[in-house]
Amino acid sequence: MARIDIRPGSRGGVDVNIPSELRDLLESLSRQLTDLLTSEESKDHPGVARLFPPASMDDPLEALGFEKLMGDALLAGKLEAADVLGRTARSTYLTDVEAEAWTRAINDVRLVLGTRLQITEGMDADALFDDPLTEQAAVMYVALTELVEMLVRAMDGDG
């Protein structure tokens, strides 16, 4: 993947200089994330489950109550972030709100991808690149990880 350069903007927000193929990917991921979040078939998808974890470890009723109370708003927030990512994927400047939406949506994609790749603490990532079945997802995961790192750094005010 070519150079990624994300730094604090001179008028707030962040300046985003990334290759056009990465912008293509972000547009595509925005659509895929939206589809995943809204399709009936994905309800039992492990990656989607990771985006909406139970709010209680040992009380299913508590978790269910939370889901009823907060589920719709949580879904709406994730869809909104995905939408902002898609609409602004070509922008070279992001407002603070847009940069945060990028970060949240891209991180959600990382969570889905990482769940699929069965990422574990301290695992040997090389194995993911050596396996043709996971190589492409691993490359994308690493690129999105770099994007999140750089967005967070830029929003913290570090170039």
Binding site: L51, S56, M57, N107, L111, I119, E121, V148, R153, D156
Partner: protein, 114 residues
């Protein structure tokens, strides 16, 4: 690849718990109702291998207003101990905290404080 993140035993919002428990006029004194303080519930953030350490630190700063050092200390606690209490409050506020943490993709739960 993914380094996990953590948070540390959450400092409970020092100033925000100053809820007056003394009504100006206690009109409920004659009732049988026992008014229990709606505390304490706690919010726990669990370690996970995907969310980045820098990201989790940033989320704690953003959601709880912690200075960077404090947010990072909490994150390291989650990372090294597997979980950390990041807030203690009335149940409804804890639910709102958990929802906010879920909106950022962190794995958070709430429970009644033991």
């Amino acid at each position: 690849v993914g380094r996990a993140h953590g948070a540390e035993p959450g400092p409970v919002d020092e100033g925000a718990n100053a809820v007056s428990t003394v009504p100006a006029v206690d009109e409920r004194r004659d009732t049988d109702e026992v008014v229990e303080p709606d505390l304490p519930w706690i919010v726990i953030v669990w370690n996970d291998p995907i969310n980045l350490m820098s990201y989790v630190t940033w989320v704690f700063q953003k959601l709880f207003g912690y200075p960077h050092e404090k947010a990072e200390r909490l994150m390291m606690d989650v990372h090294t101990k597997g979980k950390a209490v990041v807030a203690s409050d009335a149940k409804e506020r804890c639910e709102a905290h958990v929802a906010a943490l879920h909106s950022y993709g962190l794995w958070a739960t709430l429970q009644k404080d033991a």
